[in-house]
Symmetry: C2
Subunit: 388 residues, 2 copies
Amino acid sequence: MQNFVYKNPTKIIFGKDTIGEIGKEIKAKGIDKVLMIYGKGSILKNGVYDKVIASLKRNGILHVEVKGVKSNPILSKVKEAIEVGKREGVQGILAVGGGSVYDTSKITSIGHYYNGDVWDFYEGKAKPQKALPIFGVLTISATGSEMNSGAVITNEEDNKKWGYGSPLLFPKVSIIDPSIQSTLPKKQTANTAIDTMSHVFELYFDGTNDVDIMREYSEGIIRTAMKHVKVLLNNPNNYESRAQLAWGATLALNGSNGTGRTFGDWSSHNIEHSLSALYDISHGEGLAIVFPAWMRYVYKGDMNVFERFSEKIFNITEGSKEEKILKGIDSLKEFYKSINAPTSLKEIGIKEDELENIAENAAMLEPLGTFKKLYKDDILEILKMAYE
Amino acid sequence: MQNFVYKNPTKIIFGKDTIGEIGKEIKAKGIDKVLMIYGKGSILKNGVYDKVIASLKRNGILHVEVKGVKSNPILSKVKEAIEVGKREGVQGILAVGGGSVYDTSKITSIGHYYNGDVWDFYEGKAKPQKALPIFGVLTISATGSEMNSGAVITNEEDNKKWGYGSPLLFPKVSIIDPSIQSTLPKKQTANTAIDTMSHVFELYFDGTNDVDIMREYSEGIIRTAMKHVKVLLNNPNNYESRAQLAWGATLALNGSNGTGRTFGDWSSHNIEHSLSALYDISHGEGLAIVFPAWMRYVYKGDMNVFERFSEKIFNITEGSKEEKILKGIDSLKEFYKSINAPTSLKEIGIKEDELENIAENAAMLEPLGTFKKLYKDDILEILKMAYE
């Protein structure tokens, strides 16, 4: 078990009919005016917008809005939000949306106190000293951003979809009302599960020696996500399943799942980031395609953990160690197919001669990973394995 | 799944050779003088005392000491600590020890700003408004107090061993170096596992409808504790097992394991508190005796969860539902025997005609529990079942 420091100060308010609490929480921090950031407007249709605005009004909190954050959120939108926030003299940020809105809000919060280009933080050219407090109402569970200190932004000019983390980025308060996710398209519900599972995989397959306590924790989240996403694809209104999938998504990446391990492998995520930086696909779809290929490419580096994975997740107990592993990876692909996720690059319209370009993009951050260090040629091999 | 609010602000520094960090952490909060509270002096023998003092000195932090906290910590010691802290004008508390030292420190921290009798907090006659910041170096894992907001104190005059909780009681920083626990007597290592498992049981068997995500989380901690305590009883120096048992003990009761459930049942704990208020036995021993009896008394109230417990913890898959349940409870008792814990009241020298008195003590807080509400007659029945 690795030494670690763990601290997560985010307050979570979880459950049905909790959105109306947001104004009181903001008020409690002595804030009178917030910059409210949201996406393309689904909150206007599902009632979340009205609930948030009513709560702000009840508590006498003024707000200005920046809307139109898209999935795979982009740097130009962050810059727009920073400009509005500075001009309007806001004292806090209110994220109302999914991971993209949260991530946009997080970088806006540190950009508020920085005079240069916020991409400097990503490039390691500057370190933030201060942040506006971040409050949030989560509308799509997937990234865990509601309870962690990371933010992934796409620099669309340079085709860089990169992650950045700082303790300044923990939200003060996040409200998670799973019931509002019952109107999500099925594809997004499936993506919640894929994203959650993939976050766990990054930590589970990190090349650290066995740490039972965290392996158990991880396996519990994976089994829960797999079970309850199936329920939801048949019955989107099942609150119990919605709540368990939502809380699993948060627990997968709030830091506790990483304790005692390394910080995770993250090469599948980095490869996927190149996919969604270059193509208009969702992060969940990309992960469903990349992860099984990555597993197949690297499993020989630690057969024990892959064997355990096959046993604990898919109850595969027969055959040689390697047979069990390969059957486990196949089972994962089958599971993704069963929830209608794509499992090959070809399937989403990418051409074989484009793989080189994707590999080159991902290799900007080489070497990727901790389980096995990956260079451009490795990445290309994985993309080839993910092709069909 | 129940609605919940979750926030845990404690910073954990975990791992080998981390004790020397304590001075820096205290200094970082602008504190110059602390009240250091510890137990009967094992820290003088195992080197922890010297490491802590050296770290304080390096950081220019003055300290005064209150020592002699015993297990099942008592109110008079809390009052002594409060008096010293006030007289000396300390700005923070430094707990160096196990749960008893932490709990003493916590109540001292709120007593510092209260002019009445701190037992008022336990009786609900007063609410603390402010607390000294608490820092800690954990030397025995078991209670989870290092990362939660509760404190159990025995009012020795009234024979009341009661719990109290307030968000003010979260430690600011806790250092957990599992390697220093390798010199613990075997009995205390066994108690770590029993205490950890019992905390999980209280949350697992709380009468809430199935919440897979938390059941999985709980089962992972139970299996880990059971596996690694066995390793440690044979090889006390196995760092990996020591670390996993220690972190499991923290995770069992840092609040996250309770999310989405009720706040737990806690009747076995309350019954045990009466045992250790009246007799000089350890909390872990008392729990090993009480819990299986409680299970046998209440299991009909939710056969599904007890069946699941038998399956997931002891791999019992054959027989009728009730047979599986009873076999699971027997297996738990067998497990406790296998780690040399007592499993009957008789075994620890309690006489049958004393059960009435114990039941009466526990019934001060009646009705106990959420899974099944227990009154004095129920408690007496459970004690009878725990007798042989």
